[in-house]
């Protein structure tokens, strides 16, 4: 559900420092009309510009390069500002749990900007994955206990799933028996930053959500191809747990839809950055006495990329609106993730190719986004998986008719 104009209007004024003058940046967007996304209110776009401005400032490539070499993978000071000053972590958390009461459209705008700036930090694991799991599945008392500190950024959670490939495999490895959690999750995102592990595990009544502290888990950090997103193996051996709440039918897939859609936003943000920077490069790089942007084969390739990217953006934003309560197809998250994955990868490949040799070097920044694209391709379901799931859902829909 998209909030009313009034509701939104309070937001930037209340929390945004004056330096992030939103009007100023809205102007930039209007000058570059084609880059502008529609289907958003003016306030939403202003909000996005605030986020963009913040990340331009706080997450330049130099910072990304520094943080990706650290074990923690984020800058606690920036995390502090991000939560306290700009208030991004509570965006989608209802006001009764200490958040701002916006929805997934606004969260998506943040994810898009974070993807664009390759923000290093546990935003996706805590605000997107864990907070949405709690919002969906935890009982009221646990929401009240957990969400306010997540919204305030004083606590960082991560969601422990035993598959990042598809929701169908969830609860196979992580099991709760007699109130004790055991099993191993092969890939957990940003656990190193978390003080609370939210675990989705199987039990006698199906899947349920549990909270565990890091010291109750055996955490083995893993080398991730995309060093800006930390991964680890997490194992539990008979850890006593109490359920935060049970996963009702459909909730696990809804959570997956939400995560995949937010990831799609992140991906189109990254793709936009690479596309724009590549076009800029093509306007200055000279070979054979002319800018390489003047070669028709390359111009047409860019037109093809733009088409692919525009389609992915349109679908991703539509999926966000659908999940926020708007009109749309139940399988729009599947379409969004499939299109966004492929568009990001297409753009990332060409971002290297069109730069030539320099694009393959470590010191040029393109590979940082390329690795995010490559890694996100399989994160939360490949394009092929999402397409198959889309058809299944269409079949279910048609069976009901």
């Amino acid at each position: 559900m998209i909030r009313t104009r009034n509701h939104v209007r309070e937001y930037p004024a209340a929390v945004v420092p004056a330096m992030y003058n939103v009007r100023l940046f809205l102007g930039e967007y209007l000058e570059n009309g084609w880059k502008m996304d529609v289907g958003f209110t003016e306030d939403q776009l202003q909000f996005r510009d605030v986020v963009s401005r913040f990340l331009t400032d706080k997450s330049p490539p130099a910072a990304v390069r520094t943080l990706m070499e650290t074990a923690e993978g984020y800058d606690p000071e920036v995390w502090q500002q991000l939560s306290q000053e700009v208030g991004l972590l509570g965006t989608h958390i209802p006001e009764q749990y200490g958040g701002f009461g916006f929805g997934l459209v606004e969260l998506g705008l943040i994810a898009q900007e974070m993807g664009r700036h390759l923000y290093c930090g546990p935003f996706f694991s805590s605000a997107v994955m864990a907070a949405n799991a709690i919002l969906l599945m935890a009982d009221e008392v646990h929401k009240q206990a957990l969400l306010p500190s997540l919204a305030a950024g004083t606590s960082i959670a991560c969601l422990v799933l035993d598959s990042l490939a598809s929701p169908e495999e969830l609860g196979e490895q992580l099991q709760v028996q007699d109130g004790h959690l055991s099993g191993q999750a092969e890939l957990v995102v940003d656990v190193q930053a978390a003080d609370t592990l939210i675990v989705l595990a199987g039990g006698q009544d199906g899947l349920a959500l549990f909270a565990v502290t890091p010291d109750q888990a055996e955490v083995t950090p893993l080398q991730s191809m995309d060093a800006t997103r930390k991964l680890a193996r997490v194992a539990f051996t008979r850890v006593p747990v109490q359920a935060l709440g049970q996963a009702e039918p459909g909730q696990v897939e809804l959570l997956w839809d939400q995560m995949a859609t937010m990831l799609a936003h992140e991906m189109i943000g990254g793709a936009e950055h690479l596309f724009e920077s590549t076009i800029d490069y093509m306007k200055i790089r000279v070979q054979f006495g002319r800018t390489i942007g003047s070669f028709q084969a390359l111009k047409h390739r860019c037109a093809d990329l733009m088409l692919e990217l525009e389609l992915a953006k349109a679908m991703t934003h539509a999926a966000g609106r659908f999940l926020a309560g708007g009109e749309g197809d139940v399988y729009s998250p599947n379409m969004a993730k499939a299109l966004a994955s492929e568009a990001y990868l297409s753009v990332a490949k060409q971002a290297i190719q069109l730069r030539g040799g320099i694009g393959f070097t470590w010191e040029e920044d393109t590979h940082l986004w390329f690795k995010r694209a490559k890694s996100s391709e399989v994160f939360l379901g490949t394009a092929g998986w999402h397409r198959e799931r889309m058809i299944q859902r269409l079949e279910e829909e048609n069976a009901h008719v």
Partner: protein
């Protein structure tokens, strides 16, 4: 045409309703009714008051159309080229031309066609070589045009021809209104690979145009053609449904249906050209092809692209409305998307049909409709501006990449052109 009258939509509807109560009858002859429509000032409400209109805004004009539709009343004559002609004449014509040509277009008395493309100049329309030479008070036209929808039953044509060969190519073109019913004009149907003949070739050998039928000034043809083309891109030529009234019962409706049938005949295969995405799911489900994992993947790709393109088109429309964008680049992305989607649809239809895709006509799936898709889709990436032209537009106008080096900026006489051309 700004300064629209300050009348509320509901007042307009009421006024139309009252007028229709008075004037409309299903027993009228279509010609009689159209005359009455024009006299009554409801034929073209968005046009100036001087010419059958009321200077209405688009919203106000839409209200009139809605009232007509609600009442079951027939409107003015359909037919794409006529609309393009009237729009262009309205913008660039002189008083005499407007008086002579506009009314018969509205009543359906005159059918028009567009004489722009040539065999030697397709993507490069401004490279046209049809020649117009002034002899006394007449222009003598020689040359060949192609892709002329409706030319075989047109009374008049909007024509661009070269009047000056010693200036750069865009500057030597003039815009004419040509009478198609004359000995110097020969129209031949042009059959396409899908069996339809929805276009024509038009051969002009010493065809004549009166001096007074030059539209605008000599040498201004390219600028005026831009008005026509822009109207075409904005869909002025595209409203071909005929509305719900075409299905009603009554003598005038029969006449209207006949008029429509003639005007719309060239367009029957257009939906197939776009791939008929709507048929993909139902056929995959009905034939059992949905059990094939590969069909599922290809179908999902198709449906996702189509949905995304529809969403992107909606968003482009919103941008246009709020003035955030020029229609052309966004249209180019949409047109490119349509090509990709149509090709993918053809692929899916082929996979779903299996070896039945080897057949055509009544022996083949859906009475030949699927086969028509397979042999019509190649047109989508050519007609109305090739994919290549769209990509140029996107790269140069949207992404602001450098323009192609040009080899055709000098006097047209010296520009290399196709051997077959004059």
């Amino acid at each position: 045409m700004s300064d629209h009258p300050q009348i509320a939509v509901q007042d307009i509807k009421a006024e139309v309703d009252a007028w229709l109560q008075e004037n409309w009858s299903t027993d009228l002859d279509l010609g009689v009714w159209r005359d009455r429509l024009v006299e009554g000032g409801w034929a073209a409400p968005a046009w100036p008051e001087e010419f059958y209109g009321r200077n209405y805004s688009p919203e106000q004009a839409a209200a009139v159309a809605q009232a007509f539709d609600a009442h079951g009343a027939v409107g003015v004559a359909q037919g794409g080229p006529g609309k393009l002609a009237s729009h262009t004449i309205l913008v660039h014509g002189n008083q005499a031309q407007k008086e002579k040509y506009l009314r018969p277009i509205l009543t359906g008395e005159h059918a028009w066609c567009q004489l722009f493309s040539e065999p030697g100049s397709g993507s490069d329309l401004a490279g046209l070589t049809t020649k117009a030479e002034k002899h006394g008070d007449k222009w003598i036209i020689n040359g060949q045009k192609v892709w002329n929808t409706s030319a075989h039953h047109a009374d008049y044509g909007i024509l661009v021809a070269r009047t000056d060969w010693d200036v750069p190519k865009h500057q030597g073109i003039s815009y004419f209104l040509i009478n198609m019913r004359q000995p110097g004009v020969e129209v031949r149907p042009l059959r396409q690979m899908n069996g339809h003949a929805s276009f024509n070739e038009v051969f002009m050998v010493d065809a004549e145009v009166l001096a007074e039928d030059l539209l605008g000034a000599e040498g201004e043809g390219w600028k005026i053609a831009a008005t026509t083309l822009s109207a075409e891109r904005q869909g002025f030529g595209g409203d071909r449904s005929g509305g719900r009234v075409k299905d009603l019962a009554g003598p005038i409706y029969a006449q209207y249906r006949q008029e429509l049938a003639v005007a719309l005949e060239p367009y029957t295969w257009y939906p197939q050209r776009a791939g008929r995405v709507d048929l993909a799911w139902p056929r995959a489900a009905a034939t059992g092809a949905l059990g094939d994992p590969l069909v599922r993947q290809e179908l999902a790709k198709l449906l996702a692209m189509k949905k995304a393109a529809d969403l992107a088109a909606l968003s482009a429309e919103q941008k246009c409305r709020t003035g955030q964008t020029n229609v052309i680049p966004e249209g180019s992305i949409g047109k490119l998307a349509a090509s990709v989607i149509a090709r993918q649809a053809s692929h899916v239809h082929t996979l779903v049909s299996g070896t039945d895709a080897m057949l055509t006509g009544a022996d083949s799936p859906m009475d030949g409709l699927i086969a028509e898709i397979l042999v019509s889709v190649p047109a989508i990436s050519i007609a109305g501006g090739t994919d290549e032209i769209q990509k140029n537009i996107i790269a140069e106008r949207v992404l602001q990449l450098p323009k192609e080096p040009r080899f055709d900026t000098g006097p047209f006489r010296d520009v290399p052109r196709n051997v077959a051309d004059v």
